[in-house]
Symmetry: C2
Subunit: 192 residues, 2 copies
DNA sequence: CAATAAATTGTCAAGTATGATAATTTATTA
DNA sequence: TAATAAATTATCATACTTGACAATTTATTG
């Protein structure tokens, strides 16, 4: 019998290192050499486990979106019955939830995906799921609201969320966060 | 006397080509070779006119933000007296204004700027100016509104605007645009 | 026309990222 | 212990990108 495969562990190791390098050096600077060093592995092991550079980035994107979906669902699961939407806002706009690390990883991967139709489609569908999931929570919070209003509010909250995340990643110092939360609450008032 | 300098024309040529290559090949793929080919110039002329790669990207960012400021001011100048804010919304969210080209250029340049503190600061201050300029227009449209409300609405409209732009650049097919406009109008209602 | 200074061209060297492959080691099971 | 198949290591060749510099051409002015 063969030696047991470490592929899944090694893959995670490599993708973790990939994320760190994307954050630290950007898409251009995230070379296989640096990733291998970060992971504490020989560069040849990258090829052995996750294929070439494009394969690696694709795997990174897959894992990122899957994880993000899970995290969002987990967050939904912890929302209280009353004040559901307000708490959702607070959590979404809390920098602890969407940290600068994830933002920069997403930006790098999105940038990479932009001119690869299949990867790009993955980013788009992930965004759509995000909006839909928020709209679904709004339905739970405001059962009597109109679906079109919920779509509008969900789209806006998502937009605010991503803008806030980008600006935080760039190091914006102003209170965009407070404004975003205030705006989000006003939007929720549309549904009440 | 010397031969007349073509530096400004050549620089524009090169930065135009840079933008095209950023859109077409991304930050990584925008090599000096491709840019030179796109501009119809020898690669050495890039160095001669705009310095090394970082110098070129910095010039590209400077020009982009300056142009964007001008365009926004020009747009403000054409707004009517009545229904000022509503028309502003319509124009901002019109894909003809913020086209996919500009979006991808901005994303590439922002990505490049992310780990260069001075360039990053430029992006941040540009964003701040954008929000402030929108808030200023809201003051013209709603003289009796509260400043904090105007800030909130301006922040949100900007967030929607950038999200919409990103999604359009990724090729999102859904009617995020309509939702954004609808949400923007609701936000304006806050100020009336 | 001569002088000037810039544009333009041509070429080279160095560094680096990547892909590929062979050789070796290791852990498991029969 | 032998066989198996995977992990791991070592190494090479190739292509690509960039930076640098010398040589040449060109347009303007005195």
């Amino acid at each position: 019998m063969p030696r047991p495969s470490l592929k899944s562990e090694r893959t995670d190791q490599i993708l973790d290192a990939l994320e760190i390098c994307l954050v630290r050096y950007g898409l251009e600077g995230a070379t296989q050499e640096r990733i291998a060093a970060q992971a504490g592995l020989a560069r040849a092991l990258i090829r052995h486990n996750v294929g070439n550079r494009d394969d690696m980035l694709r795997l990174g994107l897959d894992r990122f979106t899957a994880r993000s979906d899970e995290q969002l669902q987990a967050l939904f699961g912890e929302l209280p019955e009353t004040g559901r939407a307000e708490v959702l806002l607070d959590w979404l706009f809390d920098p602890r939830f969407f940290d600068a690390h994830s933002v920069r990883v997403l930006e790098s991967l999105s940038h990479w995906a932009a001119d690869r139709s299949d990867a790009r489609a993955l980013v788009v569908s992930w965004t759509e799921r995000f909006i839909d999931a928020v709209a679904e929570q709004l339905l739970l919070a405001f059962p009597n609201s109109k679906a079109s209003d919920r779509d509008t509010v969900a789209t806006c909250i998502t937009g605010l969320y991503f803008q806030l995340a980008s600006l935080l990643a760039l190091g914006l110092t102003r209170s965009v966060q407070q404004r975003s939360v205030a705006a989000g609450r006003r939007l929720l008032a549309m549904l009440a």
